[in-house]
Symmetry: C2
Subunit: 419 residues, 2 copies
C-alpha cells in the first residue's frame, strides 16, 4: 500500500535533534556555537534544539570552557548526559542468557550472564527468565532514576524485526515465536509502559556493537563473525545491518572453502564450519577432552579454555590445529573482503580467547587472497566485547536509533518552555 515515508516539520526537527546529538557525541565537550558551525544550522536553531535535548535528559551543560583561554565570551560546554538514560540489551542463545544495560555513552551500568538452556526450556520459560533478568537489572541502584530507552533482544536466527518475532532459529528450535509482546508485557508489569522492544539477529547486533562500542568504534563498514556453535556473519553497510531480501543472509558457515574436505553436518564437504567451526577446532586441539556425542554448551566453554591453556604452554598439536583453522578463516574472510570491502572483520564468540593463535595464519591467508591493495592497519581483529557483544549490540542499536532520530524521544524531565 504505502511506499515510503512522508516528511513534515516534525521529521525535520527529529532529524536535526539526532544531528546535534551526533555532533555533540563526536566533539564533546563543545559549545553550542561549535555545534552550529559543524552542522550548518544557525545558532538560534541549535539553541532551541539543544534546549529540548537537555530537557529530555540527553545532553547536559558541563560548566565553562576549561583550559584554553581565547578571546571573547567563553561558550558553555555541552556533553552527552550519561546519568538520565539507560538502554538494555538481552541475548538469548543456546546455552546462556546475557543482559547488559548501558548509558548514553555506552558505558556498562549492569551486566549479568546466566547459564540457561533456551532450547530445552522453550520460548515460554525463556521469556519468563528474561523477565526475571530484566527485573533484576531494573532494581539495580545504577538504573533506579533512569529513563529506559528500550530493550534490544539478540537471537541466533532469522527474525522479523518489524513485528518482533523470531521466525526461524534452528539452534534454539524456535519457530514463529513472538518476543516483543511478552517482553513488553513483562516491562509493563515493572511499570514501564511504552518502552520499545526490538528483536534482531545476533550477528548483526554484534556488528552494531563493534561499530559503536568496541575498539573499532566509528567504523561503519565492518563484518562481525560469530563463533558460537555455528559460524555466522553480521554485515554492517554504512552503519546499518544488511538484512537481504527475506532476512536470511550473513550465512557463511557453509561457504565451501576446501573442496573434498571433511564432511559437514549439512551433508556437504569442505564447509567453513567443518574446517574452522568451534567443534572442528576442538577436535583438532583437545580430542582427548571431548565427549562422544554432540558438543553441549558448557563442555565447549571448558574445552576452549583447555585449548587456550595448551596453546599458551606451547603444545604443538594445539597450535598447529589453531593455525590451520585460522588459515581457513582467513580464506573465507578474504572472500568477504573482496566482495564487501569492509574496514574491518571482527572475530567474536569463542574465537576471541583463541585469537592469539588464530590471527597470524588468518591474516596471512587474507593477505594472500585479497585483490584490493592492503590498507593501513590490520583487517582482521578479535572482538574486545567477548560473549557480551550481541547483548551490547541490542542496547547499542537503541542508542544508535536515537542518534539517527529513529526513536521517539524520552519524555521531558523539565517542563516544556512556556507554552
Amino acid at each position: 500500500m504505502d511506499d515510503g515515508v512522508k516528511s513534515g516539520q516534525h521529521a525535520v526537527r527529529t532529524s536535526n535533534l539526532g544531528l546535534i546529538l551526533r555532533a555533540v557525541r563526536r566533539r564533546a565537550p563543545c559549545s553550542r556555537a561549535e555545534v552550529a558551525a559543524a552542522t550548518g544550522l544557525t545558532k538560534s536553531t541549535v539553541s532551541s534544539l539543544v534546549g529540548e535535548l537537555i530537557d529530555r535528559g540527553l545532553l547536559r551543560e558541563a560548566g565553562a570552557a576549561a583550559g584554553e583561554r581565547r578571546v571573547g565570551r567563553p561558550g558553555v560546554m555541552l556533553e552527552v548526559d550519561d546519568r538520565s538514560i539507560a538502554a538494555i540489551g538481552l541475548e538469548v542463545n543456546v546455552d546462556y542468557l546475557t543482559i547488559v544495560a548501558v548509558d548514553l555513552v555506552e558505558r556498562e551500568l549492569f551486566s549479568r550472564h546466566a547459564d540457561f538452556d533456551a532450547r530445552a526450556a522453550g520460548p515460554g520459560a525463556s521469556v519468563h527468565r528474561m523477565a526475571a533478568l530484566l527485573a533484576e537489572a531494573l532494581a539495580d541502584p545504577l538504573l533506579a532514576e533512569r529513563t529506559v530507552l528500550g530493550v534490544g533482544i539478540a537471537v541466533p536466527g532469522l527474525v522479523d524485526a518489524a513485528t518482533g518475532t523470531v521466525t526461524h532459529a534452528p539452534n534454539l528450535r524456535w519457530h514463529d515465536v513472538a518476543l516483543r509482546g511478552p517482553v513488553a508485557a513483562a516491562l509493563a508489569r515493572q511499570g514501564l509502559g511504552a518502552v520499545p522492544v526490538a528483536v534482531d539477529n545476533d550477528a548483526g547486533l554484534g556488528a552494531v556493537a563493534e561499530h559503536r562500542g568496541g575498539h573499532l568504534a566509528g567504523t561503519p563498514d565492518l563484518v562481525y563473525v560469530t563463533g558460537e556453535v555455528g559460524i555466522g556473519a553480521g554485515v554492517l553497510v554504512g552503519g546499518v545491518p544488511l538484512r537481504g531480501a527475506r532476512g536470511y543472509g550473513g550465512e557463511i558457515g557453509h561457504m565451501p572453502v576446501d573442496r573434498g574436505g571433511p564432511r559437514c553436518g549439512c551433508g556437504r564437504r569442505g564447509c567453513l564450519e567443518a574446517r574452522a567451526g568451534i567443534a572442528a577446532i576442538l577436535r583438532g586441539t583437545v580430542p582427548d577432552l571431548l565427549p562422544d556425542g554432540p558438543l553441549a554448551g558448557a563442555a565447549i566453554a571448558r574445552a576452549v579454555r583447555a585449548t587456550a591453556e595448551r596453546a599458551a604452554s606451547g603444545d604443538a598439536r594445539a597450535r598447529g590445529a589453531l593455525a590451520e583453522a585460522g588459515e581457513w578463516l582467513g580464506r573465507a574472510a578474504a572472500v568477504l573482503a573482496n566482495l564487501l570491502d569492509p574496514s574491518a572483520i571482527v572475530l567474536g564468540g569463542y574465537f576471541v580467547p583463541l585469537a592469539p593463535w588464530l590471527l597470524p595464519a588468518c591474516e596471512a591467508a587474507v593477505a594472500a587472497h585479497t585483490i584490493a591493495p592492503p590498507r593501513g592497519g590490520a583487517l582482521v581483529h578479535a572482538s574486545t566485547l567477548g560473549l557480551r557483544a550481541a547483548a551490547r549490540g541490542g542496547a547499542a542499536s537503541l542508542v544508535d536509533a536515537l542518534d539517527r532520530g529513529r526513536l521517539p524521544l524520552p519524555p521531558r524531565r523539565r517542563p516544556a518552555p512556556r507554552g
Copy 2:
C-alpha cells in the same frame, strides 16, 4: 568536519516531491486523491506538490478517469510525463563506448554502440569521443525539446563518485582520471550548463539498471554479475549500490572456487575467473578459433557468437564446457546468495548469449549449495539488457536519484504560480 545532513523546509518538500513521483510511477494512472491516500499527505499538500511536478515536466494530467464509473466527481488522472525529460547514460569499456538516452519511464529514446579502444586511446581522446557521442545524441529529434536530467557514466573500475574521478581502472589502464569536469565542459559547449554528471562503477550501475528497468524491475536487493574480460559483481542493497569502505568491493572474479584448479592471471589457482571467465569458457568451447596471444575485444565477441552457434547446433564439447562453467558460476552465486540473500542474481555481459547453456548447471549448483530455503522463482537470471546494461544503469541512476529527491529538479517549463 561535517557529520551529517541538516534538514530544513526545503528538504521536506524535496522528499515529498520524490514520494509523490514514486507513488504516481507505481500507480499510474491515478488521481491526486489516490496519491493522498497512498502517501498519507493531505489533499491540499498533494495538490501543491503535483502542481510543481507538472510545471517542471515530471508529471502530466491524462484526461478523465477512464473505465470504471463510480459515484462522485471523477478524478483527473496523473501519469509520469515521458515527453519532457531525458536522462543519458554512457559506458566506457575496454573495447567499446555505449550511449543510451531514456525518458522518465525509462524507455529508450536513443542508443549507439561504438567500437572503441579506450585503453589505446587514453583518457583525453576517450573524453573527446564521448563528447562526440553526446552531441550526436543531443541532436536526435527525439531529444530535441527535452530537458536533460544528467549524464551517468559507467566505468569498469574503482571510482570516487563524490568527485567524479576514475581512481583505478586496471583494464583501461586509467588512474586518477577526472571525468566529471571534462564531460561537463563538453556539455556546456552544447549549451547545457548545469547538467549533473555522475561517474560510477559499471557493475553497480548494471545492478541499478536491472533494478529499475529489466524484467526484474522493482527488486531492491539483487546482484548483477558482469561478464566482460573480468567478472565483477554489483551488489544492490535496498536499491542502493554497495560501495564498501574504500569503494573497492564487488570483486568476485578471484573468489577461490576450485582449490588446485588452473592457474589464474592473478597468480593464484582456481579463481572463479580462471574457471568461468569468458576467456576460460572460450578456451573450452572454441579453442580452434582463438588467437595465440591475449584475447582482444572484437575477437571475444566473434568467439562468443561462434560458441553460441555451436552450442545451439548441439556440439557436445561446447555444451560440456558451458555446463561446467555454469556450475562454477553457480557455486560462486551460492556464496553470494548465502551471504547477501538477494532476490535475484543477474548474469550480464557475454554471459547473456550463452545463458541457455550456462543456466541449467548454474541453477543446479546454486540449489545444491544454498542454505536458506528456496524461494518461489528462479534465483539466477540472464540480463535482458545485454551490453547496454551499464549505460542504461547510468541513465537509470539519475532517474532513481530524482525519484528519491536526491537530484535538483529540472527548471519550470511553466511560470511559477503567482508569486
